[in-house]
Amino acid sequence: MPGKWLQKILTTVYTLLLYGFIFLPVVVLVLFSFQDSRLPIMPFKGATLRWYEAVLADSRLIDSLINSFIVAMSSSVVAVVLGFLAAYALARFHLPAKGLQRALLTAPLTVSYLIIALGLLIMFNALGVAPSLWTVGIGHVVINTPLCFAIIYSQMGDHQVNIERAANDLGANEWQTLLLVTVPMMLPSILASFFLAVTFSWDEFIISFLLSRFEVTLPVEIWSMLRSGLNPKTNAAGSLVFMISIVLLLVAELLVFRRIKQK
C-alpha cells in the first residue's frame, strides 16, 4: 500500500512540475502586467490596469495589432486555399513523382524560419520589392501552406472518393462537387488548419522582423518596446496577445474539434 501512495505522490508532483514549467512564464508575464510599479519584477506591489490603459492609448501598438490581424487573416486564407488545392490534387489524381511532390510541399516545415526569412529577403531585394506588410504576408503563406497541406491531406481518405463520385454520378460537375461536397466534407480539417495558421502568423517574429520596414506586426513592435528596457506595459501588450490566442483556440475548439469528435 505505501508503494501505491508513493506512486500517486510522485506522479502528482511530476505533473505539477511539468505544467508549472510550461505555464509559469505566462503566469508571471500576466501577473506583472498588473504590477503597480515601474518595473515588472518581484515583489508584486498590487494590481492596477494602468498599463493596459497605456497599451490601448499607444497608437503604434494598436496599429501593429491591426497589422498583425490583417496579415494573420489574409495569409491564412491564402495558405488554406493553396494547401487544400495541393492536398486535393495529390489525394485524388495520378500525378508524376507523387512522393517527391509531397515531400517538397512539406519540406518548408523542417526549415527554420530564419532561413526562410533570409531567403525571402534576398529574393525580394533582388527583385526590387520593398519590405512591407505584403512581403510579411507572403512569408507567412510560405511557412503556413505546408502546415495546411499536411493537416488537410492527412484527412483526405479513399472513403471520400466514392462520396465525390456519387455527387458526380448525380449530375454535379467538377466545381460543384468540389464546392458542394468536398469542401463542406473537409470543413473540420480546413478550419483546424486555418486557425492553426492564424495563431502561427499571429505570433511569428523573425520573418515579420526581417521583411517589414515602416508598418510592423505586433511581435516586432513588442520587440522594439523591449529594447528600451523592461516595463509592465510590455507585459500588458504580451498578455493581450496571449489572450487573443486563447480566444482563437477556444473558438477553434468549439467550432472544429467538437464537430470532429461527433463523427
Binding site: 466514392n162 462520396i163 456519387a166 458526380n168 454520378d169 448525380l170 454535379a172 463542406p184 466534407m185 461527433q262
Partner: protein, 359 residues
C-alpha cells in the same frame, strides 16, 4: 424509366492485369440482373464501366440502343449505389436525396416533395432532417437507394450494397430491393459474391470468373444446368466426379469414371461440343443423392461408400460419403433416414439431375 443494357466486346486492363476479357452481355429492360463471382473476378470493374467511372480499354456500352461509352457519369442515365453508401455526411437526408434534383436545376419545392416521396418509399419519411451519422447501416442503405432513384435513372447499379449488413437485415433488404424494383420497373444491376443473395433477388444471374462471363441465365437454370465447372461449384455446393466420354449412341452417352462406367441421356450434356474421349466432370448436387429407400429406376449407382461424417441440419442431414476413388462426396439426405457414422451405403443419384461438364 428503364432501358436495355448491352455490353459489346468490352475488355479492360489495369497495366498488365486483364480485369475484363471480351465481355458480351445483354440485360433486358426492367429486369433485375446480378453479377455474381468471387472477389477479383471483374464484376465491380464491369459495374464501373457501366456507370461511366471507367473507360474500357476496348468495346462499347449501350443503353436503350444508344452508345454511351464516352458519356461521363454525370450525363449517363445510370446511377450507382456504392458499397459504402457514400452519403454526403454534411447534409440531412432530404438534401442527400434531393442532391441529384438540385443538380438538374429543380426548384426547392419540387426537390422537397420528391425527396419526401422517395424517403417514404424506403420508410424513412420521419427522419428527413437527420444527418447520415445518426442512422444505422440499414437505414443509410435505404437513403442511398432513395438518393440514387430520385433522379429517375434508367439503370440502377448496385455495388455489393448489402455486404456490410448482418444476415437478418440483409435478407430483409433483399426482399425490399426486389419489391421496389418490381414497383418502379427500373433495370437493376447488382453486384455480389453471395450466391444465396443472387438467387434471392435475381431475374438473371451472370456468373463471372477471371474477367469473363462463365454462365448466365435464371437462378434455376444456373443451379440445375450450369454450363461450366466453375459455375456449378460457385453456385451452391456441387459434387464433381472425374470421367471420360466413352461413346455416343443416339441419345445415350456412356462415360467411364473413377467409380465405374454408366450411361446417361444426352440431355445431361449442357455443352453441345462434347466429343468421345473428352475429359469431363460429372456434376451432381448433394440433394440429388437418393435416399436408401428411394426406389426410383432412373438412377446411377456409384457403388458402396462409407459414411465418414454426418450432421443434422434441420431440413436434412448432411453426410460425407467416402467413395472408392478416395474422394468424399456430400449428400443431403432426408431427416427420416437412419444413418450411422462408418456405416456403408450405396451412392445413387437421380440420373436426370446429373450434368456432364467439360473438365
Amino acid at each position: 424509366m428503364t432501358a436495355t443494357v448491352e455490353i459489346k466486346q468490352v475488355s479492360h486492363r489495369f497495366g498488365d492485369f486483364t480485369a475484363l476479357n471480351n465481355i458480351n452481355l445483354t440485360i433486358e429492360a426492367g429486369s433485375f440482373a446480378v453479377l455474381l463471382g468471387p472477389s477479383g473476378c471483374g464484376k465491380t470493374t464491369l459495374l464501373s464501366v457501366l456507370g461511366g467511372f471507367l473507360h474500357p480499354t476496348a468495346g462499347s456500352v449501350h443503353l436503350g440502343g444508344t452508345d454511351v461509352t464516352n458519356v461521363p457519369p454525370a450525363k449517363r442515365a445510370t446511377t450507382t449505389m456504392f458499397q459504402d453508401y457514400a452519403l454526403f455526411p454534411h447534409m440531412n437526408l432530404q438534401d442527400n436525396v434531393g442532391f441529384g434534383l438540385r443538380m438538374q436545376g429543380q426548384s426547392k419545392k419540387q426537390r422537397l416533395s420528391k425527396s419526401a416521396e422517395l424517403l417514404a418509399l424506403v420508410g424513412l419519411e420521419d427522419s428527413k432532417r437527420k444527418k447520415p451519422h445518426e442512422l444505422s447501416g440499414g437505414q443509410r442503405q435505404r437513403v442511398a437507394l432513395a438518393r440514387a432513384l430520385a433522379v429517375n435513372p434508367d439503370v440502377l447499379l448496385l455495388d455489393e450494397p448489402l455486404g456490410a449488413l448482418d444476415l437478418k437485415l440483409r435478407r430483409q433488404m433483399q426482399d425490399e430491393l426486389k419489391a421496389i424494383q418490381r414497383r418502379i420497373g427500373t433495370t437493376f444491376i447488382h453486384v455480389t459474391h453471395d450466391q444465396e443473395e443472387a438467387m434471392a433477388i435475381a431475374d438473371k444471374i451472370i456468373v463471372m470468373n477471371e474477367g469473363q462471363v462463365e454462365d448466365q441465365g435464371t437462378p434455376e437454370s444456373i443451379y440445375l444446368k450450369p454450363k461450366t465447372v466453375f459455375s456449378a461449384a460457385f453456385m451452391g455446393e456441387a459434387n464433381l466426379l472425374q470421367g471420360r466420354i466413352d461413346k455416343f449412341a443416339d441419345d445415350i452417352i456412356t462415360v467411364n469414371t473413377d467409380l465405374g462406367q454408366f450411361s446417361l441421356n444426352k440431355k445431361c450434356c449442357v455443352n453441345s461440343n462434347v466429343n468421345v474421349n473428352d475429359n469431363v466432370k460429372i456434376c451432381f448436387r448433394p440433394e440429388h443423392v437418393l435416399a436408401q429407400d428411394n426406389t426410383m429406376d432412373n438412377n446411377v449407382n456409384l457403388g458402396n461408400t462409407r459414411v465418414s461424417d454426418r450432421a443434422f441440419f434441420g431440413s436434412h442431414q448432411r453426410c460425407q460419403l467416402l467413395a472408392d476413388d478416395g474422394k468424399t462426396y456430400i449428400a443431403n439426405l432426408p431427416q427420416s433416414q437412419l444413418i450411422k457414422n462408418d456405416s456403408v451405403m450405396q451412392l445413387r443419384i437421380n440420373s436426370e439431375s446429373i450434368v456432364v461438364l467439360l473438365a
